[in-house]
Structure formats: structure tokens, C-alpha cells
């Protein structure tokens, strides 16, 4: 059973941040779906619901998603459904059920850097930045590589462009955590391949992405998929061995590439 000594709904992000960092065991709570499964002892729980961060908007060349937006809103948002081949909406569709997605938030999903996250993989394949109160606005890829530091994730920016994208995942039961997930996007000749649930958090297959961007031979997609599978590291957990994940990386990347090439 988790413990919360104090529950606070700050009126400003600054206040939220100050409370968060004022004690070691103060924490921001997202959708609280995962919180209830642990036995965290939280001194002050910081709730972001009063900060107006529940929105998805298309403004100034960016799609902006507030941290308090739920995954269900991400799934059904016309803005997201109609951008980047709907890759972001697609990525969250199989996460448990709508009752769950109506509660869990984008901010918590991204900030927690869950290895199994489908959303992070999709975001990583796009030109995504996140805005943190303290660390400021940084590329998602940078954030994922940084060591954990307390902060408040405010919003996510995705550069609005004509990226085509595809999300691929492999699960046994539909509502299970993914064995592996892949997102691939393309803007003109520039490609990005992201692979998640390795089981570690999503990463960009840099070499494969570069090789593709330099020279695309549609007849030999497996070649690029193999590069991705070779350059990334994979681990073993209960859902699959490292070897299987590596093999599946080739398959899913190839399929994602094909889908992107088809959706002109």
C-alpha cells in the first residue's frame, strides 16, 4: 500500500515544481494507475490537474500536448489522428482498455520513461521536444538519455510537418505489454527509426536511420532493418529473449518501412 501524507493541487507550475523539489519523497502523480501497485511513501503528492495542461492543440508549427492529457484523448484527437499517418493515436490503442486510457496521462507516460511505453516510441520517431519546468525545452531523445532528475513535464511539442510514419508492435495477447515496438517516420529523404520495449526504453536506430536517409533502396528494406537490429541492444525479460527481440526488430522495422513507403 502506498502512502501519501499530503495532497496538493498547485495553481502554478512554479509552485508545483517548488513543492516537488522541497523534499526528497515529494512526487508528481500522473494518472495514479501505476502508483497504486507500488508501496511508495510519498510525503507530498503534487497533482497537476489545476494547471490547465489537459489539451492538444495545433499552433505555430507545432502540435502541442499538455502533460495532463489522457491517452484516450491522444487516441481520439482529430489533430493527432490526422497527423503523421495517425502514428501517435495508433501507438496507444492497445494499452489495456479505454477506462485505463481515460486516466493515465501523457506526462506521466513520457516522464517515467517506461521501457514498455508505446507512446514514447511513436513520439521518438517524430520531431518531438518536451518542455520541463527546470530543464526547459529539450529534444525527447536527449531527455530519454539523461539520468533521472526531478522536474515537472509541462508539455510536448511535435514539429508539424509532412512526416509519414508507421507504428508496429508485437504482442501475444492484445492487451499485454509489447514484446517489441517500432516507429518509423520519413520526411522527404530523412528517416527516423525508433525501437522500444527492447525491453528498455525506446531508442533511435541512428545508423540505420542515416543509411536510409543517405540512400534508400526500396528493394532492399531488410538491409536497413538489419542495421537497426544490429546497432541497438536488446535484453531478455519474461516477454521475450534478447535474441527474439533482435530478430523481431528486423521484421517490424522492415514492415514499418514498407508501410511508410506505401502511404504516399
Amino acid at each position: 500500500m502506498f502512502i501519501i501524507n499530503e495532497f496538493i493541487q498547485p495553481q502554478t507550475i512554479e509552485e508545483a515544481y517548488n513543492i516537488l523539489v522541497s523534499r526528497r519523497n515529494n512526487a508528481v502523480i500522473g494518472g495514479s494507475a501505476f502508483l497504486r501497485m507500488g508501496s511508495k511513501k510519498i510525503n507530498t503528492a503534487v497533482d497537476l490537474s489545476k494547471l490547465g495542461l489537459d489539451y492538444i492543440k495545433d499552433e505555430d508549427g507545432y502540435i502541442e500536448i499538455g502533460a495532463y492529457t489522457t491517452l484516450r484523448e491522444v487516441e481520439t484527437s482529430p489533430i493527432l489522428v490526422n497527423s503523421f499517418s495517425g502514428v501517435i493515436s495508433n501507438s496507444v490503442k492497445n494499452i489495456i482498455g479505454i477506462q485505463f486510457r481515460n486516466i493515465v496521462t501523457v506526462g506521466a507516460s513520457v516522464f517515467s520513461k517506461y521501457g514498455f511505453s508505446d507512446l514514447i516510441t511513436a513520439l521518438l520517431a517524430l520531431d518531438t521536444e518536451i518542455e520541463l519546468y527546470k530543464a526547459g525545452r529539450i529534444p525527447l531523445d536527449d531527455f530519454l538519455k539523461r539520468p533521472f532528475e526531478k522536474d515537472v513535464l509541462i508539455r510536448i511539442f511535435i514539429k508539424k510537418n509532412q512526416r509519414r510514419a508507421s507504428f508496429q508492435d508485437l504482442r501475444n495477447s492484445v492487451s499485454d505489454y509489447p514484446i517489441l515496438n517500432v516507429a518509423v517516420s520519413r520526411l522527404d529523404n530523412q528517416w527516423t527509426i525508433a525501437v522500444g520495449a527492447r525491453p528498455r526504453v525506446a531508442a533511435i536506430a541512428i545508423k540505420a536511420s542515416e543509411a536510409l536517409s543517405e540512400h534508400l533502396g526500396p528493394e532492399n528494406l531488410a538491409y536497413y532493418a538489419d542495421i537497426a537490429a544490429e546497432e541497438l541492444t536488446f535484453g531478455t525479460n519474461e516477454r521475450g529473449t534478447a535474441e527474439y527481440r533482435q530478430a523481431m526488430c528486423k521484421v517490424l522495422v522492415k514492415r514499418a518501412l514498407m508501410e511508410v513507403l506505401e502511404c504516399k
Binding site: 502506498f2 501519501i4 494518472g31 497504486r36 477506462q99 492487451s175
Partner: protein, 149 residues
Amino acid sequence: MQIEIILNGKKVSLDVKNNELLADTLRNYGVFSIRKGCDTTCCGLCTIWVEEKPVLSCAMLSVRADGKTITTMEGLQREAEEFAQVLVAEGSEQCGFCSPGFILTVLAMKRELKNPTQEEIVHYLTGNLCRCTGYLGQLRAIKKYLGVA
């Protein structure tokens, strides 16, 4: 902490602990239609409506319900009975333990989706687990209830 909610149309004041989950708060208040089935936020049994949206009441802190409109099966009896008639006629309520969460999700779907396809129905309800029926009788009942093919 003291919270005030609109529970099934009535204003209710409740004294809740900071780590209390809404499913427990409401059951302790006597809302027996709420069932807990998993403890890991993935079975759908405890589904209620918060501001008209189906959510897992076992994943929601009670303190966060302050000021919210909460609807449980107790507050939707007439509509629930309409659908339950169809479900029962199909024989697919079986043990019934998951029915309240399931039916609330069906009724939420009815409001949210117009003439849903079979695929959309199944997608909307994937988060509602059932171990008795094998789901197909539920699907037959939903289609009859919504009058869709």
C-alpha cells in the same frame, strides 16, 4: 481530506484519506455495484463514470474526485436494466460479477459512438475482462441493444 462529489445526481460529502482509491471510498459508502477484480488496473470491473467518461475507479485517488460528477450503476438503473434485459435474454451475464463495469462501459460507448461497427465495439470494450462468457454472447447482446449489424 473532505471531498464533495455529485454521486448519481446527489451531492455527497466524504472524508477520505490521501491514499484512498475511489473504488474503496465508494464501496465503503455503500456503492456495492463497484467490484474490484485485479488490483493492477487492467480488468475493467470497477469502471464508473467520472464526468461522463468511463474510468477505472481503482486507479483514481479519491481526493482527485473532489468536485467531480460520479455515476455508478446505481445511478443508471433504468438504462442498465434495459440493456441487462437483452444481456440476460442472451444468457451472457453468467456470474455477473463483471457486469456493472461492463454495462457502464457499454452505456458510455452508446453515448460516444454512433452506430459502431463490430470492430469498434470490441475495441471499446477490450478493457473489460470476463472469464465466464467468452465475450461472444455479450457482443450479440450489444448488437441487439444498439440495433447494429
